[in-house]
């Protein structure tokens, strides 16, 4: 029987894992070194959700490295999706929801690219995206689910989904193909040099994503010692042997948020919405030029966001621990 290209064969999946260097070794590198671990045309899974824990520093590095034709998957896509489309890094996004955000409404950039068929937005149910990563993390080829049935969301996926009668109960279930991304990029609050990653707050789909992917690039607010990790191993959510690169990137989600460290930079995102509202094409281009191409270093990007906004976002971010 022919292998369905949607799903990796189990033996290939095992062989890829077996070939990885899983030893306890130091993996700290720069953003641009990490960007070289992502190749054109690959499937990139993006950690976080909406405006939260978006690995923006890594996305910034991928834009600067000129990566192209990536297929991107994420639980929910916000303004970073505009950046993927507008930069050419990805013409193909797999997600359940894609908008700049509830506060700003539908993304004009997303509308321009999808309505003019310049890019794909494959829509799945939210839980289905999650269960596809989970199947990938579990090493099984599919996951049965009771949603998406009966809807046009499922019909539009064509052969990517199947329904079957459950052999035990006779009920109808939908089968979702496992998702095993080539690379996952995930931002965390802290990690050690080996890639043991500790996550605070909302976990989204990141742990399944890390387990499912062939390679994982971690960016982290700060690098801590392995001794610190070993004092609170219960807080480690991603094991080092799934990780290929560790990059220290303070404010690595800006202008999105990182739980307990900073909230979204609302004024910046307001200004972004205004910039792309009247002319999405010129708007996203000028935004990419100003914030992604001109700054030489991640710290130059942060300097452009401005100290005032950074302090405001971090004051609000840390407020979660105030009471």
């Amino acid at each position: 029987m022919d292998q369905n290209p949607l799903v990796k064969s189990y033996l290939d999946l095992r062989a890829e894992t077996e070939a990885r260097d899983r030893g306890l070794r130091e993996k700290v590198m720069s953003l641009s070194e990490a960007a070289s671990l992502v190749h054109d045309g690959e499937h990139l899974a993006v950690g976080g959700c909406t405006m939260s824990r978006t690995p923006m520093a890594m996305i910034w590095a991928l834009v600067r490295a000129g990566r192209k034709d990536l297929t991107v998957s994420r639980s929910i896509v916000s303004s970073e999706g505009d950046i993927f489309y507008g930069s050419g890094v990805s013409p193909h996004i797999i997600t359940s929801w894609f908008s700049q955000g509830i506060v700003w409404g539908v993304s004009k950039v997303m509308r321009h690219y999808t309505e003019n068929r310049l890019a794909r937005f494959d829509e799945w149910s939210h839980m289905s995206i999650g269960l596809r990563y989970r199947a990938g993390a579990m090493g099984v080829p599919f996951m049965p689910v009771r949603s998406m049935i009966g809807s046009d969301v499922a019909k539009r996926r064509g052969d990517e989904v199947k329904t079957m009668e459950c052999p035990f109960t006779g009920e109808t279930v939908m089968l979702l193909p496992a998702l095993n991304p080539d690379v996952a990029i995930i931002h965390v609050q802290r990690a050690d040099c080996y890639g043991n990653a500790q996550l605070d707050g909302l976990q989204f789909m990141d742990i399944d994503m890390a387990m499912a992917a062939k390679r994982v690039i971690l960016t982290t607010e700060r690098i801590i010692t392995n001794e610190r990790i070993r004092r609170t191993p219960d807080q480690t959510r991603i094991p080092f042997f799934t990780v290929d690169a560790v990059v220290e990137a303070p404010f690595g989600c800006a202008p999105h948020e990182c739980y307990g460290v900073y909230e979204p930079f609302f004024d910046h995102l307001d200004a972004y919405a205004k910039r792309v509202a009247s002319d999405p094409v010129a708007g996203i281009k000028s935004y990419l030029d100003e914030y992604f191409h001109e700054p030489e270093e991640w710290t130059d990007y942060l300097a452009k966001l401005g100290v005032k906004d950074m302090l405001d976002a971090s004051r609000r971010g840390r407020s979660i621990y105030n009471d």
């Binding site: 959700c49 909406t50 405006m51 939260s52 639980s75 929910i76 997600t95 359940s96 929801w97 894609f98 908008s99 955000g101 509830i102 506060v103 539908v106 993304s107 997303m110 509308r111 999808t114 309505e115 937005f121 829509e123 149910s125 939210h126 839980m127 289905s128 999650g130 990563y133 989970r134 689910v145 009771r146 949603s147 998406m148 049935i149 009966g150 809807s151 046009d152 969301v153 539009r156 329904t163 009920e171 109808t172 279930v173 939908m174 707050g201 909302l202 976990q203 989204f204 789909m205 990141d206 742990i207 399944d208 948020e257 739980y259 307990g260 909230e263 979204p264 609302f266 971010g317 979660i320």
Partner: protein, 257 residues
């Protein structure tokens, strides 16, 4: 008696929706009117009601003036009981722990199907909308309350795309498709509270809001609605309901109009 001009359409939606929720229920809520309604119910008559957010939050309490910008940012976790991965919080729906799902949409049809994906032909859309988010999962797996503004362009005979299934094509078509639990429960608008006929599964009017006529509801609906001649009137928002809402949203982010 509160006059119609004393509250906004959004406030009316939130109050009427809150009254449908009961103590002890577990409610999946999105940001905006659903969250305001669930919080209002908690404050007034359902202190044991638990809110779930699709971001993975179990049992948050809204801090007045600090409404979250979506269900996935840290503000959603304020005073919550638990934070879990997205996939797991959604699986609570599939397991059957959730009583009511609560959401809005761009279009709804006579069988309660919701569209938040495409306006026009999905292959050549006039407008690409954000998509389902958790909507499809919620509407597939639990009872739904939909809160939305009552406009002809939103209440259509047939949606352009079924993002979140209601009763599909009526009758027992939902169960036949394989969706053997859940379904549409109520649609709350700024004009009326609506339900679905238990056999045909077509939308019908259960109550008219103060000062609203049957003709006004029909004129703002893109399909024929069953409106019984003795259709009851809903009770207008009370001052304590409005006071709590205004305390929760002092900047009028979600309740201005």
């Amino acid at each position: 008696m509160t006059e119609r001009s004393h509250y906004t359409a959004s406030e009316l939606l939130a109050v009427m929706s809150a009254r449908l929720l009961h103590d002890g229920q577990i409610v999946f809520a999105g940001v905006g009117i659903p969250l305001l309604a669930a919080t209002l119910a908690q404050r007034l008559h359902a202190p044991g009601l638990t809110i779930l957010f699709e971001g993975g939050v179990v049992g948050p309490f809204v801090v007045p003036g600090e409404l979250p910008p979506s269900t996935n940012e840290q503000r959603c976790t304020r005073r919550a009981n638990m934070v879990m991965p997205i996939t797991d919080v959604l699986l609570l729906l599939q397991r059957g722990y959730v009583d009511v799902g609560f959401m809005g949409g761009a279009q709804i049809d006579r069988f309660g199907n919701l569209n938040s994906s495409f306006i026009g032909d999905p292959d050549d859309p006039k407008t690409r909308l954000p998509g389902t988010g958790g909507g499809n999962d919620i509407s597939s797996l639990t009872q739904m309350i939909v809160a939305m503004k009552h406009e002809k362009r939103r209440f259509v005979s047939e949606v352009d795309f079924i993002t979140s299934p209601g009763f599909i094509s009526g009758g027992d078509s939902r169960a036949q498709s394989g969706l053997i639990s859940g379904g549409m429960y109520r649609v709350v608008t700024d004009l009326a509270v609506l339900g679905f006929d238990k056999d045909t599964r077509e939308m019908c009017v259960l109550g008219l809001h103060p000062g609203v006529s049957a003709e006004e509801v029909q004129d703002n609906t893109g399909f024929d609605l069953h409106i019984p001649s003795d259709v009851p009137r809903t009770q207008p928002p009370e001052s304590n309901e409005l006071a709590v809402l205004r305390e929760l949203d002092p900047d009028r982010l979600y309740t201005a109009n």
